[in-house]
């Protein structure tokens, strides 16, 4: 089907969402809670766009691009006054929540906000509650973290806000996907600490680079059906070996 985004005609398949179609066509729409590895969620409200349709008799609506299913003939505008107002409002609010986040500061600046017009949160952290960490943790099959409480009291944590349970494999997916770097972890020579739990570190047989924790490699082997021995080398060493094999076969 065909639709128009910012006066450009683009092609989309049924079942796609506006944001992915826009991104594929190089049209930029800001989003904080979106990641291609997980299902769209619609929490940050930054990817708001204005839509209309020739059949809608002039009616327009603001929708989140990450969750709005494509529709033939849809006319999408990503930078109208209304869109700008809502995005600026959202960023202003997020800046009050996380005044220390450089990501939010930079985004806010793009919408003309240098300082929040609201009251900054007392004792702020960097978490914008985008839910990416929770969703990625669920996606990899661990579900070790979740949101706790609701509304302004809501936070992301492990059960009872203490130490990660055995469900956590220490894979760092949560920390790596976090757009604001809100999830703290540390690594020393043999130990990784995340969610207050210490994990041993496994290193690549070849180059000694960190490849993960025993729990993580165990979990990945189980989920992928690959043999545990597959997870003894780092990706680069494995790729190098494969390349060498490829050279022998070809030449």
């Amino acid at each position: 089907m065909q639709l128009t985004i910012d006066k450009r005609s683009v092609v989309a398949r049924k079942g796609e969402y506006l944001l992915e179609v826009a991104q594929r066509n190089g049209i930029e729409i800001p989003a904080l809670c979106h990641h291609p590895a997980v299902e769209p969620w619609g929490g940050c409200r930054l990817c708001m766009v204005e839509i209309t349709h020739p059949d809608w008799k002039g009616w327009t609506g603001l929708v989140t691009a990450c969750l709005y299913p494509v529709q033939d003939g849809l006319i999408v505008s990503t930078d109208t006054k209304k869109v700008h107002q809502v995005r600026a409002g959202v960023l202003d609010l997020l800046l009050a929540r996380c005044p220390g986040s450089s990501l939010i500061q930079n985004l806010a600046r793009q919408y003309g906000i240098e300082e929040t017009s609201f009251t900054p949160r007392k004792a702020p952290d960097l978490c914008i509650l985008c839910g990416l960490c929770i969703r990625i943790c669920e996606k990899i099959g661990a579900s070790a973290i979740s949101s706790i409480g609701r509304g302004v009291e809501k936070l992301v944590s492990v059960p009872y806000e203490t130490v990660a349970t055995a469900a956590c494999v220490g894979c760092l997916s949560c920390a790596n996907i976090c757009p604001t770097g809100a999830i703290a972890f540390s690594e020393s020579e043999h130990c990784r600490t995340i969610w207050s739990r210490n994990f041993e570190l496994v290193r690549c047989e070849e180059c000694k680079a960190v490849i993960g924790t025993p729990e993580q490699l165990e979990h990945f082997a189980r989920r992928s059906g690959l043999d545990r021995s597959y997870f003894t080398k780092c990706d680069s060493c494995r790729n190098r070996e494969a390349a060498a094999r490829f050279v022998r076969v070809t030449f």
Binding site: M48, G89, L129, G151, V152
Partner: protein, 616 residues
């Protein structure tokens, strides 16, 4: 007893009606939540005792019924068939009622209701203004039946609509009838029920689900509670008819765990319906099967939102999701689902029984039928009222509600729950229907009506509702979660007299972001309490901001309590009552309030009998 055909159901009804005619006088004791709290159980027990003493157990029946609505005057007792209405009945009165009213046919004056306007004593229920201005389509049965008795419901004509539909009406015709009736969702959305059913019937995917939303959470609202407690079979029958129309075999009632009596009576009703062959496999021998599961909520207000409710039913965190793909196509477990509120379902049997043409005659052009409201706040007759759509607010508050408490002046009425709005005196003549209330900046919501008098500060009211929503926002989306935090902060500032006039512009800008940007209806309508009070009571906001004054004398940072010397008799009552020990003065001497220590709790004002406390 297992009924295997609609004819068997009809025969059972005739039999029950015949039995009842031979029967005797009935003492109906209201056992709705309000009357239970007033001690109606002891009243019923006392009646039982008194009948026994007089050897009348065989001749007189005691019926504990669902809520009659006039909660202010509970415990309520109505003597049928005469309809003699006794109010605030105590267990000690039972003996006298049996001896005088039952045995001698005499009315006991001290238990009658006195009309506060005309000062007349009224003997019969039908003469009481609280009742005679109502049109009790849905609630009417409550006072006549024991909600735990399926036979009572059947005697009053219950399940006949279902019986007729199952054998002689095609599902499409049922939907057409509901569409034609003009019934709109009573939970607040106001969407056409018939159209919703039609979309769900046409949607691809099996199975299809029927859901009853009984997660009533608005402060002061208890319509759905009273329906489930007082007439659960009407809701169950409505759901079965809906299931037949849509083609569903699985239903859920999502009910607040805080409603134990509703859960209990509903479960009793479901068990009885199954026993009678009205629920479960092969209903009334028609071949159609449908059953209902009760799911109890976990206490989150947001789970009254349809998608959050479905998430909760699935065992997930109760958070809403975007509805760009409607729940009639992709709802519970991603299957086509029809969710209606308790009151909506309870309307269905009546519509089928009496017909859409009859139903359409009640109400306004675009809002048909009746609406049940929970009338609360500073009004004389608090309780549940069922009125035809289009009735002016004034009639509800002043005629049915009996006016403002203590003869004070009306200031505003809050409609539509926490996300509704406050309407001023000038809006009192507006007809109550979905569209008019929305145009006026409020909404119908699920039917809360909170009346406020001149001692209410509108900034404080807005702050109260925003605080409620702040605690109940699920926190998924930024505009609602962070917006409510900031909105509350701004209102706090205003109530302390801080912030400039620019604060109001800031509030309006933020409200617009919340309205446009929030994910679900909770966030999108959350600004309503603020926007409606700003629209109608802007002066009051300005008084706080510019003159640092709270005209209603509520906002603690802006008020002072003092003693009016001419009025003070030195009775020491306020001095003794003051928890902060801020009042000094000997007996028979004028008292003094120390403003430094005073916490502005208002107790002195409440206890002073001489109007000697001044708040300014």
């Amino acid at each position: 007893m297992h009924l295997t055909s609609p004819e068997a159901l009809k025969r059972l009804k005739s039999q029950l009606v015949r039995q009842r005619k031979e029967n005797k006088s009935v003492i109906t004791v209201c056992a709705g939540t309000g009357c239970v709290a007033c001690g109606c159980a002891a009243v019923s027990a006392a009646f039982r005792e008194a009948l026994k003493e007089n050897h009348l157990e065989e001749k007189v029946e005691i019926k504990t019924t669902g809520c009659h609505g006039f909660c202010e005057r509970g415990p309520l007792v109505v003597m049928r068939p005469e309809g003699i209405f006794y109010q605030r009945v105590k267990p000690a009165d039972a003996k006298q009622i049996v001896e005088k009213t039952i045995k001698q046919g005499k009315v006991i004056e001290k238990l009658l209701y006195r009309d506060p306007q005309t000062k007349q004593l009224l003997t019969y229920e039908k003469d009481i203004p609280f009742y005679n201005k109502q049109e009790r389509l849905i609630f009417g049965m409550n006072g006549h039946m024991d909600p735990t008795s399926i036979q009572d419901y059947i005697t009053l004509g219950g399940y006949q609509a279902l019986g007729r539909v199952l054998v002689s009406v095609h599902p499409d015709e049922v939907i057409e009838e509901v569409k034609k009736s003009g019934l709109r969702g009573r939970g607040g959305g106001g969407f056409s029920t018939g159209r919703k059913w039609a979309s769900c019937r046409q949607a691809e995917g099996e199975p299809k689900y029927i859901i009853c939303n009984a997660d009533e959470g608005d402060p002061g609202a208890f319509m759905d509670r009273s329906l489930l407690e007082g007439n659960p079979h009407a809701v169950v029958e409505g759901m079965i008819i809906g299931a037949y129309a849509i083609g569903s075999h699985d239903g859920y009632v999502y009910v607040r765990n805080e409603y134990p009596l509703a859960v209990k009576n509903l479960n009793i009703a479901l068990a009885a319906a199954r026993e009678y062959g009205l629920l479960g496999a092969d209903i009334l021998g028609s071949g159609f099967s449908f059953d209902i599961t009760v799911s109890r909520g976990g206490g989150a207000f947001v789970c009254g939102e349809s998608t959050a409710l479905m998430a909760s039913l699935e065992g997930k965190i109760g958070e809403p999701r975007a509805k760009y793909i409607h729940t009639v196509e992709c709802g519970l477990w991603e299957k086509p689902s029809t969710l209606n509120n308790v009151e909506t379902w309870a309307n269905v049997p009546t519509i089928i029984e009496k017909g859409a043409d009859w139903y359409r005659k009640i109400g306004t052009e675009n809002s048909k039928g009746t609406k049940v409201f929970a009338l609360t706040g500073k009004v004389n007759n608090t309780g549940l009222v069922e009125v035809p759509m289009g009735i002016p607010l004034r009639e509800i508050i002043f005629d049915i509600g009996g006016g403002i408490l203590d003869g004070r002046a009306f200031k505003a009425v809050q409609t539509g729950g926490p996300s509704g709005g406050c309407l001023p005196e000038s809006a009192l003549n507006l007809p109550v229907d979905f569209d008019t209330l929305t145009e006026a900046g409020s909404m119908m919501g699920s039917g809360g009506l909170i009346v406020m008098d001149d001692r209410t500060c509108m900034v404080d009211v807005a702050k109260y509702f925003i605080h409620f929503l702040l605690e109940e926002s699920c926190g998924k989306c930024v505009p609602c979660r962070e917006g409510l935090r900031q909105l509350h902060e701004m209102l706090e500032e205003i109530s302390r007299g801080e912030g400039g006039v620019g604060t109001l512009d800031g509030i309006e800008r933020l409200c617009s972001v919340m309205e446009q940007g929030s994910l679900c209806a909770l966030g999108r309508s959350a600004p309503n309490p603020v926007m409606s009070t700003l629209r109608y009571f802007r002066d009051e906001y300005l008084a706080h901001l510019e003159a640092h004054r709270c005209p209603a004398g509520v906002c603690k940072a802006l008020i002072n309590y003092s003693v009016i010397e001419e009025n003070c008799t030195g009775c020491v009552v306020c001095k003794r009552a003051c928890p902060a020990e801020a009042i000094t003065g000997e007996k028979n001497q004028v008292h003094k309030i120390n403003s430094e220590i005073c916490t502005r709790c208002g107790i002195c004002l409440a206890v002073c009998k001489f109007d000697a406390i001044l708040v300014e």
